[in-house]
């Protein structure tokens, strides 16, 4: 018998905060004390026509949240409590949910659809509630079904398809669902609400339709109906239908040939004449076709066989498709450059044009250039901007050989256009210059468009334009970013860019200081460009300049500490700026530590930097700054043993970082920094190890911590063991069971899920690295401690080796740990190695590999095993 909860549900929506809190607390208690009754009561509330719509809606929402959660662990818990619930309650709940689909209250119907889908997502994959589909279809086929019921039924079908995967349904069920949905789209029979619901349901059901698309008759029928609804008089239906076509373009690319003429006519009419959201979907259809063809081309380049067939739709449509996209470029919005990520016809058209260029390469060039040439000098800014945008869009895809002459002859024009009176034109011109540098400039390429002759002029224009409006300046930063990148790794003796670096750095620093914009993007672009400049610079020529920059950035960082902090907004701004500056420091430290001559600069300023980082950490009360942590890791490695003197001060922030579960990136980075410190300090890290190891063990046992942090923690155990050697002994009783537990867990991970596969590989690698560090650390004095664990480790290696999904890094770690085992334990492993002969084949395989590092490791391991076997 359900509990009467209407009043509590209404109270939970009260305007009075106190009443609300009490009601929420009541609901929570009820849920904890008797979940089955709670759920039953909610479903009864939702299905009762005489209850107020507000309480019914909230009942539905709470019901939904009792079945599903964003957090994976919580979701699993909720699933389990539903699965283990009394079957009679579950069937009552499901019955009332289905009843609610016929409700006269639209909110109740809609909420019920969502809950049905959540229950289905738990039960259908378990082959339960098989009658659901039949019952829903009945609603569609009963001649007297009212339109609202049909609409709700279609909506429910769509949600169910969204929640489950194609393998969860039998083909007959799929056929029935698709038949009902496609019939629901029929204009003659149904109201526009029903048809819209049907089109939206089709969108979710498309993934299930593989077999139906393989059948020509069924495919023809589906395509005919979708194309008809794409021309319906209701704009919402047209838009939903085009979204279906976009999805069909990527899922069923291989079947589209017979429909392409129709689809071109349909989409080009939409692009030219329909409302913007619909026109955007029509452009998206072609972008999706490009995505497919680019992917097919990339696959066939990577592999000799096995790529999907290529239908060359873009190539065939090219003469009509390119003009269609060029037209859209002229439909800019005023002030579109002021807003980040603006999406309109012109942006979508340019983006699609860029994809077409990547699909077809050189052949697009003669189709676009006449448009560029005829518009670029016109009086209307729209024409000049569109011409420049068209040119910039096709710079990736065609060969450098084809583009270089055009860029050479057009470069001076573009440089002059940086003085155009239209800000839009300047914005797009600066962006185009950046694209030119990105794709057509490389110190090692024969066609690079940048020469010693034109570089001075280019730099002069960029440095002048960086003072232009903020949106233009941001694009100029992007151009400088790629300009610097192109000079990386060229002739190592000298970089052509070196003479200009001083001026560029000065310009970027003052750009970062600009007060004429509240948009933080310009500042971060300026600093990030500075980072790239440092990374790509030729250290032999620029070490003193980089050292100067180091001082300037330290100075700026110390000024952030003096900022007046009144509001949380102030704090956020301070934190953002500190992040950018710590980022620059990190890049500088890493750059300077690349050579012995320059690493002394770091040592010289290490004390000052360390004080600054500690102050940055202290600015926050609860969390540790991720960027400061990254910079600190680089500093620890660069300074080596002398980092020990900072440890006492730094330790509490390190611990804070390791405890930061919510921002798991911070936790992950802190774990990495422990590794850096281990390598810097060796056994001087010993006094801090108890704290670090116990925190790491805590993290591993915590189900809340994001799983991506766990593999690095295992690797970190290896780092610690290698640093402190025999002193790791006292952690063995805690760490080894963790390693063994994780090893067992590896075999339980689903091999069907790509993410899980990758996670499994990371975990295996982490476990191996932990064992490697421990074995090598114990080698000289405590190796005997590991003898009892050798058998289990060897079995784990064997299991991993037999897994066909292991990646090369895992293989390398497995081979290495095998060698470490033989190396550290010596003759103790002789019998084991004779019993487990898998290593013979494994090493044979690795020695044939193309990966030199793997080969080298395998050779070493082979030697270690050989030594044991003949001992």
């Amino acid at each position: 018998m359900a509990m009467e909860i209407t009043q509590i549900l209404l109270a939970a929506q009260s305007a009075d905060g106190q009443i609300r809190t009490v009601a929420e607390e009541n609901l929570k208690q009820f849920q904890q004390q008797n979940l089955p009754l709670f759920i039953h009561s909610l479903s009864t509330e939702l299905s009762s026509e005489h209850k107020p719509p507000e309480s019914r809606r909230l009942a539905g929402l709470i019901l939904k949240n009792s079945l599903d959660a964003k957090d994976a662990a919580r979701r699993e818990e909720l699933t389990q409590s539903w699965v283990s619930m009394d079957p009679s309650i579950k069937s009552q709940v499901k019955e009332s949910l289905l009843l609610t689909l016929a409700s006269l209250v639209s909110e109740a119907r809609h909420t019920s659809c969502q809950v049905i889908a959540k229950v289905a997502s738990i039960e259908i994959p378990r082959r339960e509630w098989q009658e659901l589909i039949v019952k829903l279809l009945n609603n569609m086929t009963q001649p007297d079904s009212p339109a609202p019921l049909k609409q709700a039924t279609l909506e429910a079908l769509g949600y169910v398809c969204e929640e489950i995967s194609p393998q969860d349904l039998e083909q007959e069920q799929v056929n029935a669902v698709l038949t009902a949905v496609v019939q629901g789209m029929n204009q003659m029979e149904h109201s526009s609400e029903v048809r819209l619901a049907a089109v939206k349901a089709l969108y979710n059901a498309l993934d299930f339709a593989q077999a139906n698309f393989e059948n020509e008759t069924e495919r023809n029928f589906i395509m005919k109906v979708v194309c008809e609804t794409a021309m319906a008089k209701e704009p919402e239906i047209r838009q939903a239908s085009l979204e279906c076509l976009v999805s069909i373009a990527s899922t069923y690319y291989g079947y589209l040939e017979p429909y392409m003429q129709t689809l071109f006519n349909l989409t080009s009419n939409a692009v030219r004449g329909d409302q913007e959201p619909i026109a955007l979907q029509a452009i998206e259809f072609w972008s999706s076709i490009c995505d497919e063809e680019i992917q097919i081309q990339e696959e066939s380049e990577e592999e000799d066989t096995g790529s999907s067939p290529h239908s060359n739709f873009i190539n065939q449509a090219l003469p009509v498709l390119v003009p269609l996209m060029l037209e859209t470029l002229l439909k800019q919005e005023e002030d579109q450059d002021q807003e980040d990520g603006v999406w309109n016809l012109s942006m979508a058209g340019g983006t699609c044009l860029g994809l077409i260029a990547r699909t077809v390469g050189d052949t697009i060039v003669p189709l676009v250039m006449p448009f560029v040439e005829s518009n670029i000098t016109k009086g209307d800014w729209r024409c000049r901007e569109a011409a420049t945008f068209a040119f910039g869009s096709i710079l990736e895809g065609p060969s450098v050989k084809k583009l270089a002459p055009l860029v050479h002859s057009g470069l001076e024009f573009l440089l002059n256009a940086m003085k155009d009176h239209s800000s839009h034109v300047k914005d797009t011109t600066a962006w185009t210059l950046g694209r030119i540098f990105e794709f057509l400039h490389s110190a090692s390429s024969e066609y690079s468009v940048l020469t010693a002759a034109n570089l001075p002029r280019i730099i002069a224009v960029l440095l002048e334009s960086i003072r232009d409006a903020p949106n233009v300046a941001e694009k100029v930063c992007g151009a400088i970013y790629f300009l610097a990148q192109g000079y990386e790794g060229g002739d190592s003796s000298s970089s052509l860019l070196t003479p200009y670096l001083g001026d560029i750095v000065t310009a970027l620093l003052s750009t970062a200081d600009r007060a004429d914009t509240s948009n933080p993007r310009l500042r971060s672009s300026a600093y990030e460009t500075l980072n790239e400049l440092v990374r790509c610079s030729n250290l032999r020529e620029t070490s003193s300049m980089v050292a100067q920059l180091l001082l300037e950035i330290m100075n700026r960082l110390s000024k952030t500490l003096e900022l007046q902090i009144v509001s949380s907004d102030d704090r956020e701004k301070q934190s953002d700026l500190q992040a950018l500056l710590c980022g620059v420091l990190q890049v500088i430290i890493q750059k300077l530590s690349n050579s012995d001559e320059t690493s002394s600069i770091i040592n010289q300023y290490a004390d000052q930097m360390m004080i600054l980082f500690l102050q940055v950490f202290a600015c926050r009360s609860s969390t540790v700054h991720e960027e400061a942590m990254l910079a600190l890791g680089a500093l620890a490695y660069a300074t080596g043993p002398q980092f020990a003197k900072y440890m006492q001060e730094f330790y509490k922030y390190l611990e804070m970082g390791l405890q930061n579960f919510e921002e798991y990136q911070v936790c992950s980075i802190s774990v990495g920094v422990v590794g850096d410190i281990c390598r810097a300090l060796d056994d001087k890290i010993l006094p801090y190890c108890d704290g670090i190891v116990s925190q790491l063990l805590k993290n591993l046992s915590d189900p809340v911590l994001h799983r991506s942090v766990k593999p690095p923690i295992f690797s970190c155990f290896g780092d610690i063991a290698l640093a402190i050697g025999e002193h790791f002994e006292k952690y063995i009783p805690y760490v080894i069971p963790m390693l063994q537990g994780a090893a067992d867990h590896c075999s339980e991970l689903s091999p069907d899920d790509d993410d899980m596969q990758e996670y499994g590989n990371q975990l295996r690698r982490g476990i191996f690295e932990a064992y490697s560090g421990i074995l090598q650390g114990f080698k000289s004095s405590k190796a005997a401690l590991m003898v009892p664990h050798a058998n289990r480790l060897l079995k784990f290696i064997e299991a991993v080796v037999s897994d066909k999904f292991r990646d090369e890094e895992v293989t390398k770690a497995a081979v290495a740990v095998l060698g470490d085992l033989a190396d550290a334990l010596g003759p103790n492993t002789k019998v084991l190695l004779k019993d487990h002969t898998f290593h013979v084949e494994l090493l044979g395989e690795c020695i044939q590999s193309d990966n030199d590092q793997l080969k080298e490791t395998a050779v070493w391991t082979q030697g270690m095993i050989q030594r044991v076997l003949v001992s």
């Binding site: 969204e162 939206k200 969108y203 939903a240 979204e243 976009v246 998206e284 972008s287 980040d340 990520g341 999406w343 942006m347 979508a348 340019g350 983006t351 860029g354 869009s393 797009t428 962006w431 970013y481 971060s524 990030e528 980072n531 992040a579 980022g583 890493q590 960027e627 990254l630 890791g633 680089a634 490695y637 990136q665 980075i669 990495g672 590794g675 850096d676 390598r679 290896g718 780092d719 290698l722 690295e769 490697s772 090598q776 650390g777 080698k779 290495a816 060698g819 550290a824 020695i847 030199d852 080969k855 080298e856 050779v859 070493w860 082979q862 030697g863 270690m864 050989q866 030594r867 001992s871």
Partner: protein, 428 residues
């Protein structure tokens, strides 16, 4: 129905420098972790080569051999036994040995191919072939900032700086100062080049227990990147070069035999792909010559002339037996006791004999010599007697030489791998 993912505008930069910083930091940490683990492992592997009893290839055999080495001061042979160097030595330690100890040690380190007296099966599948450069075989060791090449008998050929790892006193950032490498080479006088025919150790990695297939791969990928193949300079006195190595199929054999090489050829070398680097004589490496591809088809005497009768160098044992350098040795005759006493020969002396053709018989594929005529003690520079296969090859060379056509014929063209030859039943 979920909102379709919004496509990223082409005008929005996809670069996230923060993500890039994270990735670069991760990359740096991974690299540094791998470096420090490798350092720990390298400590291990040097312990291994110094003290292990397993890597027998690096270790001096029984001290008995010390007395066998030909040397100018043979009287000191007894002394050698009393001051026999440690039984276990590695290349690094051995390179600290001086004078005769060093010579004796290094004389045992080369892998010596047998002469090809019959054609091994599966030549095309399991073997490599290459043209042997004319010149002296030598063992090249780079360590401690210098490079030393030693001839087959262990004596020093050159002492020079090279770009090999730790082969000169320049700052070599690519490895620790203790690093060393060992190459098996032929020094080719005309272009003053060391042609590397095998790689034994590279940057402390011992390749003794690796297959030829792998050693050649390693050789080809590592030598060039060290800069050793560059032209000579102050810190790199001699150029090193690899030789083209072919699979021993029809095309490979033809290329090795007929193509002109940058060096003068002295026969062909055949290496079994699966064989490890084994010091001393081995049937898994073979040498073959004819008049076309070698100026040294028939053995010459000390004047450099081909004698009318075949000559052999054999080692005298304690009991007067005359044996080859094989292990175990093959006996071809013995000396009378009074002859030994009169000549003051001692066990281990290498003696040169002439063979009368008519006294030679081949019984069950084995060579037997009826009559050995003493000529002289052999050249003092020699460290070893002739091997059985050499004596046999030289005998065959004078009577019915193994021809290139024979070798080529043993390699069946167009036969797919592993398919046995099946008799076809005709007319059935």
């Amino acid at each position: 129905m979920p909102q379709p993912e919004v496509r990223r505008s082409i005008k929005r930069s996809a670069v996230s420098d923060q993500q890039r910083r994270r990735e670069l930091a991760l990359l740096r940490q991974t690299q540094q972790r791998s470096d420090s683990q490798n350092r720990a492992r390298r400590l291990a592997s040097s312990v291994f080569t110094l003290s292990s009893s397993s890597s027998s290839d690096l270790i001096l055999p029984d001290k008995g051999i010390l007395t066998r080495a030909a040397d100018s001061e043979e009287h000191e042979a007894h002394l050698d036994e009393s001051v026999a160097p440690a039984r276990e030595l590695n290349v690094v330690q051995a390179s600290k040995l001086k004078g005769r100890e060093a010579r004796q040690w290094f004389a045992r380190q080369l892998m010596l191919p047998e002469w090809m007296i019959d054609i091994p099966p599966k030549l095309d599948r399991d073997w490599y072939v290459f043209a042997r450069p004319a010149g002296n075989r030598c063992f090249v060791v780079s360590s401690n900032g210098t490079t030393i090449s030693r001839l087959r008998n262990g004596s020093v050929l050159h002492h020079f700086p090279s770009s090999l790892p730790n082969g000169s006193r320049t700052r070599d950032s690519s490895g620790p100062a203790s690093s060393y490498c060992v190459l098996d080479c032929i020094f080719h006088e005309p272009d003053q080049t060391y042609y590397v025919i095998d790689m034994v150790c590279w940057r402390d990695y011992s390749l003794y227990d690796c297959t030829a297939e792998f050693r050649f791969f390693w050789l080809n990928s590592k030598l060039a990147e060290s800069g050793a193949c560059n032209s000579p300079s102050t810190y790199h006195r001699y150029r090193f070069s690899v030789v083209p190595i072919y699979d021993c199929n029809q095309a490979g054999l033809h290329a090795a035999y007929s193509t002109s090489m940058p060096y003068t050829k002295d026969g062909l070398l055949f290496f079994n792909k699966h064989a490890h680097y084994q010091t001393g004589n081995t049937p898994l490496a073979l040498v073959w010559k004819d008049n076309f591809c070698s100026q040294y088809f028939l053995d010459t005497d000390s004047q450099g002339l081909v004698p009318t009768q075949q000559q052999v160098v054999l080692e005298m044992q304690e009991d007067g037996k005359l044996t080859t350098s094989d292990d175990p040795p093959v006996e071809f005759g013995s000396l009378e006791v009074d002859f030994i006493q009169k000549s003051e020969f001692r066990a281990g002396n290498l003696l040169r004999f002439a063979i009368k053709d008519e006294s030679v018989r081949v019984v069950d594929g084995k060579l037997e010599i009826g009559d050995l005529q003493f000529i002289s003690k052999s050249n003092r520079a020699r460290a070893f007697a002739d091997s059985y296969s050499k004596v046999f090859f030289q005998y065959a060379a004078r009577h019915s030489p193994l021809k290139i056509e024979d070798i080529a014929a043993s390699i069946l063209p167009n036969l797919p791998d592993d398919s046995p030859i099946v008799d076809v039943e005709m007319g059935s």
